[in-house]
Symmetry: C2
Subunit: 331 residues, 2 copies
Amino acid sequence: MNSQQIHLASRPSGMPTQENFKLVEVELPSIQEGEVLIKNTWMSVDPYMRGRMVIRESYIPPFQIDEVLEGGAIGEVIESKNENFPVGSKVSNISGWRTTFISDGADLTLLPSVELPDQHFLGVIGMPGLTGWVGLFKVAQLKPTDTVFVSAASGAVGSVVCQIAKQYGCKVIGSVGSDEKAEMVKAMGVDAVINYKKVDDLTQALREAAPEGIDVYFENVGGAHLEAALEVINPYGRIPVCGMIADYNADVPQPGPSNLLQINTKKLTMQGFIVMDYWEHYGEFVEQMGQWVKEGKVKSEETVYEGLENAAEAFIGLFEGKNKGKMLVKI
Amino acid sequence: MNSQQIHLASRPSGMPTQENFKLVEVELPSIQEGEVLIKNTWMSVDPYMRGRMVIRESYIPPFQIDEVLEGGAIGEVIESKNENFPVGSKVSNISGWRTTFISDGADLTLLPSVELPDQHFLGVIGMPGLTGWVGLFKVAQLKPTDTVFVSAASGAVGSVVCQIAKQYGCKVIGSVGSDEKAEMVKAMGVDAVINYKKVDDLTQALREAAPEGIDVYFENVGGAHLEAALEVINPYGRIPVCGMIADYNADVPQPGPSNLLQINTKKLTMQGFIVMDYWEHYGEFVEQMGQWVKEGKVKSEETVYEGLENAAEAFIGLFEGKNKGKMLVKI
């Protein structure tokens, strides 16, 4: 059995390019007692992977040159010598970027028995969904009376944040980078959408959308979005920091907002978090969110690229704003 | 009875100057039933007052042109028609910047019966002391095993923070802007002092002083100090934001640090606070801190200007780094 894999060919400098990736075919050995052979059907590309492509201090070790990349994936067991994972089992795993692989089961999780499409476990009821849910409820202590501003509102996390906050009773304002994405976010029922590429003054646009101020800023972007949020946020506002995608490809560090003093003046709490620290809540989350999705209260938004050979293009597309909702590769 | 008062003559643009202040003499009426006449003996000048001199969104209203300034002071009752404040009572009040004033008692607090010099109630056991104590224990949740970095370490708040953290068992690194201040902070027993004006690379200097990283950054300054702290701070670090004095006189907003992404990567919590929200802890604080001061575990550091006519100079001196410890005016 052969496996096609995407390896890291070189470390990106600035925006990743096709040259940073290499499609390699390797032969897999036969499985041993306790092992299973998995065929991946879906894989995830996520902005955080950019951080692993370079060597820097981070919460996860960097990818190695000429080694296969990693990431979330969904697969099916096609050969098994492990009774916990019989042939036909569907599993979520962290061995994306490859068609097939062998596992002893330690890194596999059987998909929960929620009757939803498999790929949802990489999106709305997977890591991005949990990230949004955790950021709102566990970090920002969301209240139904809050006005919530969400940057990258059409993204995998942002689209979930908008929908959770909206159906929780909050007023929600989303920011996106194209009219097409604005339409998508509007269709999710949010109260206002800002296409930040079309406004001269993001702070002013946010103030108009939220004359009463915002209480929570769900930070996915950094830069001008953070600056606008700091201006318009109310005293005791909360800023869960999920990411700052504007900075991920910056080779020359970009200066931060000039109004950080607002953190003091308004007694704000800005808190970085990563979803790994909250996996204990996954069961609770998947039950609640699965229900919302089944009831149509939260919709899964997905952009799908077909074929492992297009995974690099899908990944690069994340930084070019090509995804609406969760960016996925169907293998 | 006449009162000398300092009025706001004009709003400062950039660094405050003498022209922004005016010494005025006004006549006070006789006191009525329920009122007392107070003679101030000490007054405080504090960086936060700069914010009240201009019109902007803040937690307290701005000072008005041609009206008397306000601020913390200690005074003595010299005439009384209020049985709660007999003649000779010593009171802390918020009617600084004047020699005498009339009060109905609502804004007066009798000095707690701690046998310490009166002016300490404007410093180490007053607002600056409580600010440091609250920032460390109530905001940053200080642990004895923490390494703590303190900017403006020789200031009214910073000098208290250094000493509290040190005697709590922490490793403490202070940053100051002169060799003279470095000597003062060293004498307080901290583990390392950085004169930021003498180092090429503050991040590198901090890393050398704390090769194990820092866990808490007590933020008084902003700018390059915050940038260095974000680089050297450990995962789950806490940044209580007490102030950002570097920004107070900036007419042209200064860009923030370029490494705010660390808030996400390191899962940091950055929390602004103001001492007013924590007055409920004053009793607990004054008991603990008063004891530490009496035992010599925490020393009161003070810089004293003599005479109300020099209050503006004392205030301006705050932004020129002229104070070591608490800046006070003896009236």
